[in-house]
Symmetry: C2
Subunit: 227 residues, 2 copies
Amino acid sequence: MAIQMYDLAGSDPNRRFSPFCWRIKLALAHKRLDVETIPWRYADKAALAFANWDRVPVLVDNGQPVVDSWPISVHLETAYPNNPSLFNGNVGLARFYNSWTDSVLNPALARMVVVDILNHLTPGDQPYFRQTREQRLGMKLEAAAADRESRLPTFRQLLEPLRQTLSAQPFLGGDSPLHPDYIVFGSLMWPRCISELRLLDADDPVNMWSERLLERFPVARDTPRYW
Amino acid sequence: MAIQMYDLAGSDPNRRFSPFCWRIKLALAHKRLDVETIPWRYADKAALAFANWDRVPVLVDNGQPVVDSWPISVHLETAYPNNPSLFNGNVGLARFYNSWTDSVLNPALARMVVVDILNHLTPGDQPYFRQTREQRLGMKLEAAAADRESRLPTFRQLLEPLRQTLSAQPFLGGDSPLHPDYIVFGSLMWPRCISELRLLDADDPVNMWSERLLERFPVARDTPRYW
């Protein structure tokens, strides 16, 4: 039985942009596990009631629900020890990447593309999204995204630790990608899937790394995206 | 023959505060390698000429010089494979910690304590330090450190990825420390050794982690420091 995963979708069911879901789709591909993704919208809370959870990703593996992107990645590593390792025996070392992405990268990305996200959602999801995100941001979505081109240099400066690392080695994991690559790259798939604004210069080492990952992973390369 | 290491010292030769040197002193302790540290000042460039290098740490291992903190850590791992591992087979995964510390943490720390550093240097080192650091900072040292108490909340916010990680597990390496712990903790030893300003609240998970490391490593616990 293939693994199933509830995956955030826009009004186009094929447009899948959640950074947390991308982490897991890439982790599944790394571990060479087949998955059936089920498009999910914010309004579908009831569809996740079986897992006692209210957001995605939710995985169903062998009939058992596993929720939240970090525990799901650890579950995949533990449940499929003979498949290619996501952590090379160092789950602990990966957590800082998760924390940095959640607390630094994602908030910065959200402010760049929050209106694009809104515009890709179903009409049913838009009021919920606007209300919860405006509360989180403390301002109107349009105000958060205003003048975003002028904020690009500041945004790119935030990526400096990534840039330094990826100037010295091809992947965050070293010579080949590991789960930390998917955590960070998953967040870059978010704007790529819903916004025309290219956040990275072509010759930025961070962009070149993301191109290497796209080349490796058809699930990301072939998904509907703007860049 | 014990390993020798050139280690930045203040006017008091026992006051050793360089974050890059701390990385290596902790790495050496982790690998249970004895080291003879040689106090070094910025004015002693000639003392490092044998290594064709101009700053510390410089290691002399079996008569061979090894320079710069990252290559030194990789050298220790490679040259002493039977001693406790610094990287658990994942040198690549550690590099982002190095990049984050160098590009985010250290510049923020420098602005907090740059005048304290100056005050602990030998009179011979002070003009060099002032000139090079004022050039790097683009302002007088006193201006960089001004109103630092009011900047503490912003500084502490920068540590959020560490805080999230260390709220979930005892060390960056997981259940026990690895080289990424020493990279980041080495930078916190810097202000601890030369400034009375406590940068962390006692109950901050980042502070509690640093206390766990002090307890584990007498080389850090017993060094002259303010906190």
